[in-house]
């Protein structure tokens, strides 16, 4: 599949789950294709990084469900900050473990999963819809009933994949990408390289194959597709580019310059070439 074919399946108002973590192994080529599309009013569910920042900066987002939004080496995501401070988006903030529980509940077709996380904190105040549930056993403990976070579409990025949708993470942390896929109705995976199935074990052990083809509806070959986030062992974070991205949040002129230089281009190929040229 191409990025364009994936984004053609998106509709205004959809709930989109995005894999990766902070500024790590994000499906950025798919995110960039959304920026080129007319899709809007999205709800994002993410361990947030520049995926959230960019989509907010392009006015694609109505609501963000998150535990944090960060660029890792730059702790605060400046484009996300701008959107929040302008009151441009609705924020649904959970503890990051609650987010996992919400995805796991959706993946397991459960209405909720109980957790201690959230009790006593302002997670409860900021999410007045959150309900408590009492253990039916002798302990009678009262816990937060973290509701299922069911997704319309999940987007993830892997190091390798085969044509059938088996995905391979060669980096040190698979994050929660498998849960994003299991929690979603439609699932799309970009990867650095599509390889024949018989070659999947050439670069990593069987433990690296957490994404199987039942959890994926389409595969997109996107070399450099996670740029400027890291995608080890294929490449690290492009810190210099990330600094440029972060600085572009400073004022409208820098942002317009950054946009026209890198993002308002016809295709992902043009983006990759603009990055190389700089």
């Amino acid at each position: 599949m191409s990025e364009r074919e994936v984004v053609a399946e998106l509709r205004d108002g959809m709930t989109l789950g995005i894999g990766g973590w902070g500024s790590r192994r994000k499906p950025m080529s798919l995110v960039r294709e959304i920026l080129r599309s007319p899709v809007k009013d999205l709800t994002l569910v993410s361990y947030g990084g520049p995926d959230v920042g960019l989509l907010c900066a392009f006015g694609k987002v109505r609501k963000v469900v998150y535990g944090f939004v960060s660029l890792d080496s730059i702790p605060l995501e400046p484009h996300f900050r701008n959107a929040r401070q302008a009151g441009a988006i609705e924020a649904v903030e959970f503890d990051e473990g609650m987010l996992q529980w919400g995805l796991y509940a959706a993946a397991s077709r459960l209405p909720f999963l109980p957790t201690r996380a959230g009790l006593g904190s302002d997670v409860m105040k900021l999410n007045p819809g959150l309900k408590l549930v009492r253990s039916p056993y002798e302990d009678g403990e009262e816990l937060v009933a973290m509701p299922a976070l069911t997704l319309d579409v999940a987007l993830i990025h892997m190091n390798r994949a085969d044509e059938g949708g088996n995905g391979q993470c060669l980096g040190p942390d698979p994050f929660f990408d498998d849960l994003f896929c299991m929690a979603a109705r439609r699932r799309f995976m970009s990867c650095e390289q599509i390889v024949p199935t018989r070659e999947l074990l050439r670069e990593g052990s069987v433990h690296s194959l957490k994404i199987n083809r039942m959890g994926v509806d389409g595969v997109i070959e996107a070399p450099g597709g996670a740029h400027f986030t890291e995608c080890p062992p294929d490449y690290g974070r492009d810190e210099e580019f990330q600094r440029e991205y972060a600085a572009s949040a400073g004022d409208p002129d820098s942002w317009n310059a950054f946009k026209s230089r890198y993002l308002e281009l016809a295709s992902e190929k043009d983006y990759q070439e603009a990055v190389k040229r700089r």
Binding site: W21, G48, Y66, G67, F68, V69, S70, P75, L76, F80, R81, R84, Q85, A86, G87, A91, E93, F94, D95, E96, G97, M98, Q100, T115, R116, A117, G118, L119, G120, S121, D122, V123, L126, D139, G140, E141, E142, P172, D173, P174, F175, F176
Partner: protein, 254 residues
Amino acid sequence: MSEFTRAEACAVAIAETFRGDGELLVSPIGTLPSIGARLAKLTFEPDLLLTDGVAYLLANVLPVGGAKGPEPIVEGWMPYRTVFDMLWAGRRHVMMGATQIDRFGNQNIACIGDPKQPKAQLLGMRGGPGNTLNHPTSYWVPNHSRRSFVPQVDVVTGVGYDRAAALGPIASRFHEIRRVVSNLGVFDFDTPDHAMRVVSLHRGVRVEDVVDATGFELVIPDDLSETRAPTDEELKLMREVIDPDGIGSKEVRV
């Protein structure tokens, strides 16, 4: 006793927060917490489990900030999902930052102002709510001032003692705010109502400095001590093994 910097005093105070933890996953967020945790592991808490900051548990201690060091000895795998498992099992002690902290140890790293449209958006809840209800949590505040030590935090991310008490004994049975270390001193909550108390002041800090820089009333014991000075061995370990590039000193302005 050798001369030492404020940052080195802070690192030792941070190391001390992990004393007695034994075989426990320690998650230090920030540079000086990382230095302090590694110092504890190299001296009085050799059994601590520490990651490389990504997903590998390392049996040996590497320098912070990517300085040149020994070959890492990987003793285990700790991706985020397993960190959450350890967290829920209570097998962890985290030291987080706090943009704001109040008298009972409520932490805010989410935003300043009205959460609907904040004056300053910060990180978000992160793991604050879950950490504080499940296992020991400590805080590192490198800029002790009336802006960080406040009467009331704008958003409660990490749960403090007053709110934990309100939850009752069952929900709060794993709650513990071990210590707060700032650039001025060390604080705990070992008082009848768990209000913040001064444990020690770093060398060169006066009681009035801390009182002036704190936006609420601190419990100040009569026998106030100075934060333990680094030993010569600790100074050598910090300067030669853990932080040869001296990046810890960038986190503390004093």
